[in-house]
Symmetry: C3
Subunit: 341 residues, 3 copies
C-alpha cells in the first residue's frame, strides 16, 4: 500500500521554472528530473542515468532530451536512451522511468500513477485565474521539513492569523477566533467560509487598497487533494454585501499546491493574484512581498510543530478545539484516498 | 529504570535568564518550557501544546501563564489550559505536565521526580555566595555534546590545567601533576584538595591581583550530584597559611551546575565569584572573560574526547592513573543513585 | 572478512604534510594519528589515549613521540606510553596500537595488515618521478564522500573528459568518445591506453606548451590497488610518433593515491608533474591550478553519483557501455584481493 494517494494529479511546480537547466525534484519518494526540451516538450524522468547512476539533473537539456553530464548518454522524454556517444548500438535496456507531466495555466501537473505507463484517468485541474486579465499574480515556493497534511491543517483554519500573522494579514486575534465559520463538504472537497464584518483592515490590505477604518472581510477556503484555493478579501464596510459573488473591493486569490516529497517533507507551490484599485494599480508587488513574509511565518511554526511532534512521539493524543473541523475533514479524505491507492 | 538519578534537584539555569520570553530546555530527556509569568511566578511545563504540538516556548508570556503561538491557548503554571480563544469551554483534558521549579540564590533549581506531581522530598541546595557582598560574580552557560559525567571527571581532576589551560589558569605543568592531592568522601559528596605552594602566579591571577613572583595556591573541589563547588586561590608566598580557612589573598569561588540533557548531551551552568584587591577593584570582568576562555578550552577537549569514545566504541578499557581517584568516586556515587531511581 | 584488501600498502599522504602538528586520519575504518617526531621518525598510532580516550591528534609532537593534550601522557612511535606526568611507574598496559608507515619519494605509505605487528611482506611501491629533475610537481588532496572504487572507475575511463572537463583538459567530446582504446592486464595491474591523433589542444595544454592548431594526444593509465599512474601528453602533430616511449612534447605525470577511509568515504592524494618548454619554464603552477580545478569537477560528479546510488538503492542494475572495460577489470581485482583478506 502506498503512503500517499495515487492515480492523482499533483502540482510539480510552475511553468516559469523550466529554463535551459533541468530541475531535480522528488515527489512521493520518487526522484525525478523535470525539463523542457529545446523543441518545447515538457518531461519528467527518473533522475538517474542507467549507466552509472549520475542524476540526469546534473546534465544538460537539448532539443531531443536530456544528456547525462558524465558520459553523454541522451534520453528522450519517453525515458528511452537515444544516443550512447562513441557506440553505434544503444542497449535496449538503456532507459529510465517516465512520468506524465502537463503544463496548464502556468502550472506543471504531474500524474502519480498506481501503475507506471498507464495514461492519466482524467484531465489535470483547471486554474483559470492565472490567465484572467483582471488579476496580476506572483508565485513562490517552499521546501518544508514537515509532512504535507500539517499545511492542510494550517490553511483550513485561518484562526491562527491572529497569533501568527499579526504583522501582515492578522489583525485582531479575538475577532479571528470568534468569526462565524461554516464548513461544508462536497465529495472530496472541503469548503470553509468565515465572515468577519466590521474588521479593522490589516496591514497588507491597507498597503494594497484605500480602505477606511473598517471593512467587511471574507475568507473562503476550498481544499482538494492536490491544492487549496483561498479566496480572501474585503469591501469597505457598508458597501457591497459580503457574501455577494459579484462583490467589489479587494480580492486575493491564493493557489496553494502542496505535494508530498517524502513522509516527512513536502513541496509548497503558491501563487497569489489580486485585484487592483485604480488609485493603487501597482499593488501586486507589495501583496506578493507581504504574502511571502506571511508564509515564512507559517513555515517557522509548522516546522517547529513537526520537530516537536517527533520529539514527543505523538503522545498524548491531540486535544481538538472548535477550529479543527475543516482540517479533520481533509484528513479523513486523504486517509480514504490513501486506502484506495 | 531511569538512566539518571531521580528525586533530585538539578540546576535549570540562572534567574537572570527569565525575561519576557519563554525558554526551551531539555533535562533528563524531558523537553520543558521555562518562564516567569507577568505576575512573577516561575514555572516549568512540558514544552508541547496539547492541541497541535507546537512548542509552548514558541509562544508568549503573560500575567497568567504562557500562551501558545499558534491558536492562542493559555496555560497556567500548574499546566492546566485556562483559555481556548473563541471557545467557551476549556476541555478538561487540555493540560500539560508541570514540574517543580524554584528560584534560590539567583539559581533556578528543578526537581526531577520519580513520580510527577509528588512534592520535592527536600529543599533545593543553598549557594549563599551569590548573595555575599564580599564577592562579585558573573555567569555563563554551555550546551555540551558530551555526557555530564565527563565534566565531573574534568573538574575533579585539575591536573589537566597544565596541559589544557596554559594561557589562563594553568602555569607549570609538572607542578600541577605532582601537587599534593587529598581525596575524601562524606556520604554522596567527594572532596579533592590540592595545595601548590611556591607556584608561579598564572596569567588570570596576575590580571586580578597584584601578585609578586611566587604564590601559594590551593584548589578545593567539592562534588555533589547536581553541582560542584570549586574554591581556588592563592596568597603571596610567605604570608597567610595556605590551609587556613581565614586566609586572605585572591579567591575564586566557582559554581558548576551540570545537568544531563540526554544520555549524550548536557547543560553546564557556571558562575565565578572573586574577591577584589583595593588596587584592582574591577577585576571581575577580566576574571569572567578568562574563565569563559578556560571553559571553552575544556569544552573542546571534552567534546573531542566523547566523539572519540563513540568512534572507538569504548574499547579497550580505560587505563587509570593517579589523578583519577576523585572522578572515579563521583562515578560510583552517580551509579548508586541511578540504581536507586 | 575485511571489507578492504589487507596486507597491502596504501597511500597515507605526502611527506610535506608532516609538520610540528600531528595529523588525524582514518584508513580502512581505523583512526590514526600520523606524526614525525622531533628526532625525525615517522609514526602512525591509534588515535586514542588509553587513559581517557582523547585523540592523540589533539596533542603535541615532541622529540620522543606524541604527548596527549589532556593529562600529558607521552607515547613513543612504538605505541608504548613512556611517561605519565606526576607518576613514577608507567602502567604496562598503557599503550596504543602502532602501524608500519614509511616515507618514500615524498609519499607516506602505510601497511594495512591482516595481523597487527607483523612486518610488511614487501617494500612500499616506488614512485621515482617525484625525485626526477626533468619534472616539477605539485600535490593536492581530497576527502571524498564516496567509496574509493568510484574514483577508480572515473580515472580508468577518461572518455568523461569531453562532458565533465570542457574548461580544462576536455576538448572535443566526440573525439574522446571515439578514441581508439586498448585495455590490457598484467596480474593485478590494468593498463588502458587511448590515442587521439589530430586533436585540438585543450586549454590546459595551450597554457603550458606552445602548441599550434593540432596535436597528437595520448593517455596511458595504469591501475594498481593503492594508486593509479596516468601519463598524458601530446606532441605537435606530425613530429614524434605518438607511441614512441622517447617522444618529446608536453608530458603530465599524474599520481593518484586513493585510500579507503570507510565504506562510504575515501582519501584521494594526487600529484602532478610536468615537463617544461624552454619558452614556458614556469608552467607548473598553471598546470597544478587547472588540474585542481579539473579534480574539483570530478569530485562534484562522483559525490553526486554516490548520493544518487544510495537514494536509488542500487536498482536497477547498471547498464555497461564501451568505456567500462578498464574500470570493470579493476573491480574484479579489488574483489579478489578483498576475498583474500
Amino acid at each position: 500500500m502506498s503512503l500517499f494517494p495515487l492515480n492523482q494529479w499533483y502540482v510539480a511546480g510552475f511553468s516559469s521554472e523550466l529554463t535551459d537547466k533541468p530541475i531535480a525534484r522528488t515527489f512521493l519518494n520518487q526522484k525525478m528530473v523535470l525539463f523542457r526540451t529545446g523543441d518545447g516538450r515538457v518531461a519528467a524522468l527518473e533522475d538517474r542515468c542507467c549507466h552509472r547512476s549520475l542524476p540526469l539533473s546534473c546534465g544538460t537539456v537539448e532539443a531531443g532530451g536530456v544528456r547525462c553530464g558524465y558520459h553523454g548518454m541522451l534520453y528522450a522524454p519517453s525515458g528511452q536512451c537515444i544516443e550512447v556517444p562513441g557506440q553505434d548500438r544503444v542497449p535496449t535496456k538503456a532507459c529510465v522511468k517516465a512520468y506524465h507531466i502537463v503544463e496548464k495555466n502556468h502550472i506543471l501537473w504531474i500524474w502519480m500513477p498506481q501503475e507506471l505507463g498507464v495514461a492519466p484517468a482524467r484531465e489535470a485541474p483547471d486554474y483559470p485565474w492565472h490567465d484572467d486579465a483582471r488579476f496580476k499574480f506572483g508565485t513562490g515556493k517552499y521546501h518544508y521539513q514537515a509532512p504535507w497534511q500539517l499545511i492542510h491543517d494550517n490553511l483550513l483554519d485561518l484562526s491562527h492569523l491572529g497569533y501568527v500573522h499579526l504583522k501582515t494579514i492578522g489583525g485582531n486575534a479575538r475577532l479571528h477566533m470568534t468569526a462565524d465559520m461554516k464548513v461544508t463538504q462536497d465529495g472530496d472537497k472541503v469548503r470553509v467560509v468565515r465572515l468577519m464584518p466590521g474588521s479593522t483592515p490589516p496591514p497588507t490590505y491597507k498597503a494594497a487598497w484605500p480602505f477606511g477604518d473598517t471593512c467587511d472581510r471574507w475568507q473562503e477556503i476550498e481544499f482538494e487533494l492536490s491544492h487549496l484555493k483561498i479566496w480572501t478579501g474585503a469591501v469597505e464596510s457598508g458597501t457591497d454585501a459580503i457574501d455577494d459573488p459579484n462583490r467589489g473591493g479587494f480580492h486575493m486569490r491564493g493557489f496553494h499546491g502542496i505535494t508530498p516529497e517524502t513522509e516527512e517533507t513536502c513541496h509548497y507551490f503558491w501563487s497569489m493574484a489580486s485585484t487592483r484599485h485604480p488609485d493603487m494599480p501597482e499593488n501586486i508587488d507589495e501583496v506578493i512581498r507581504q504574502t511571502a513574509f506571511t508564509f515564512d511565518e507559517d513555515r517557522a511554526v509548522i516546522e517547529a510543530q513537526y520537530r516537536n511532534m517527533k520529539d514527543f512521539g505523538g503522545k498524548p493524543e491531540w486535544v481538538d478545539i472548535h477550529v479543527d473541523v475543516g482540517g479533520n475533514r481533509a484528513r479523513r479524505i486523504v486517509q480514504r484516498l490513501v486506502a484506495a491507492a
